[in-house]
């Protein structure tokens, strides 16, 4: 075990960790924003409304994230029309390709978590809201969604952590995220154990912070709710 190599790699790994956090945070927020309407459409009664989200969730949960990233990064760029379109300045960048793939992926999982939570909102509460004359949107805004978010919270924290670890795949499309930096340093030093260990510690640290954050949120919403 070469401790010097581990120690010397910390500043560069920290820089990679920042990119990792950035990727997870941005795609997490975008994914959540996308997941809410998806989940609502998914539980809607009309077939035309729920068929699309169902297919979307099925595809993105049913294929590996690595393949999704490769399709966005290497796949899209093979088409002349994409390269000439207004989207190219965005799709050209590995950074945005990663964000797009991660967002679409996490939106599918989160939508499914939310769908379960919406359906788990006790019938009685919805009935009560109806009884005091709340309209459909007010019911959704004041009763169903707040209740569903609370139910979904533990499962959602799990999804965020899974996405943190999935973000390591950004290194396969030239990004120097935590894993990307580790791999580049390994290419110079041939010390995979030291560097992967150091990178692993960074991931653990980030996971710890995420868990702590969710614990605080959970405490808060339960304090208000119950």
């Amino acid at each position: 075990m070469n401790w010097d190599v581990m120690w010397d790699s910390l500043p560069e790994l920290a820089e990679g960790a920042l990119l990792t956090i950035e990727l997870v945070a941005i795609s997490g927020v975008l994914g959540l924003a996308l997941a809410v309407p998806l989940a609502l459409a998914r539980v809607a009664r009309p077939l035309w409304l729920r068929a699309g989200p169902f297919a979307y969730i099925f595809v993105f949960r049913g294929t590996p994230l690595l393949i999704q990233i490769f399709l966005v990064y290497y796949g899209a760029s093979q088409f002349e029309t994409v390269r000439e379109s207004f989207l190219w300045p965005i799709l050209r960048e590995a950074y945005w390709c990663a964000i797009i793939a991660f967002t679409l992926n996490t939106a599918a999982y989160t939508a499914e978590i939310l769908r379960g939570a919406i359906q788990a909102v006790p019938e009685g509460e919805v009935e009560a809201a109806k009884a005091i004359g709340m309209g459909r949107w007010m019911r959704l805004r004041r009763v169903v969604l707040p209740r569903a978010f609370r139910i979904a919270l533990p499962a959602y924290s799990n999804e965020v952590i899974l996405m943190l670890k999935g973000s390591a795949l950004a290194s396969t499309i030239t990004l120097l995220d935590l894993t990307g930096v580790a791999r580049t340093l390994i290419a110079k030093t041939y010390m995979p154990i030291e560097l992967f260990l150091a990178a692993g510690l960074f991931y653990l640290l980030i996971t710890g912070i995420i868990l702590q954050g969710f614990r605080l949120v959970e405490k808060r919403v339960h304090g208000v709710g119950e």
């Binding site: 290497y74 760029s77 093979q78 590995a94 030239t174 791999r183 580049t184 290419a187 041939y190 995979p192």
Partner: protein
Amino acid sequence: MKTAMKMMFAGAVAALTISGPAAAEDTLRIGTEGAYPPFNQIGPDGELEGFDIDIANALCEEMDRNCEFVTQDWDGIIPGLLADKYDAIIASMSITPERDKAVDFTKRYYSNKLRFAAKKSSDIKPTKKSLEGKTIGAQRATISAQWLEENMGDIVEIKRYDTQENAFLELDSGRIDAVLADMLVAYEWLDSDAGSDYEFKGKAVYSGDKIAIAVKEGNNELRKEFNKAIKAIRKDGTYQEINEKYFPFDIY
């Protein structure tokens, strides 16, 4: 059901005990990448093929050893050797001072140069002035990537790819302005349909690249055995025969 499982388990244990240690002693395990045409790649039939593979097979025959190939992603190929996943690396590996510290090299089995390739319409030249501010692709953990870092690190953006093929693919998409690669690998790609719009730019920026077989540090016996075999296949014409299959000029 239960007996069937028991029998299967017993069979598996027997197979492990019989073939395990014995095979590890007799068979020479050779690590290669399998994604570096025309030197080592997976062919349409799913089998490894290429110059490295042919040379490895010729050497094994010369040494009278039974050889088995293990494919391993490039950036883990030296760690794999150090972790005893195979006994030698025959994967177009250049001798560099850094690698020489981690492993031992045989004498060379071919030579190479580093050269830039870019679109035919591009007027890029391999000079600092021309490359300033450009984005250059190379395979991660290769001497091309290292050369870029050491010589152009402050003026170009370097993009590192997991395989050489992905770097060429990116030239096609226009995300990078040029690729720095082993000349012989680029030669094969430029010669193919995919590379028909591209060409070498300028002269080689680095020559004297020696490609050799890597063995674990201190494994002198195997290193010497390989050296002897390389000499032998050079002498009896086997090497030249393989060379001709891939390149119309001598690459030794």
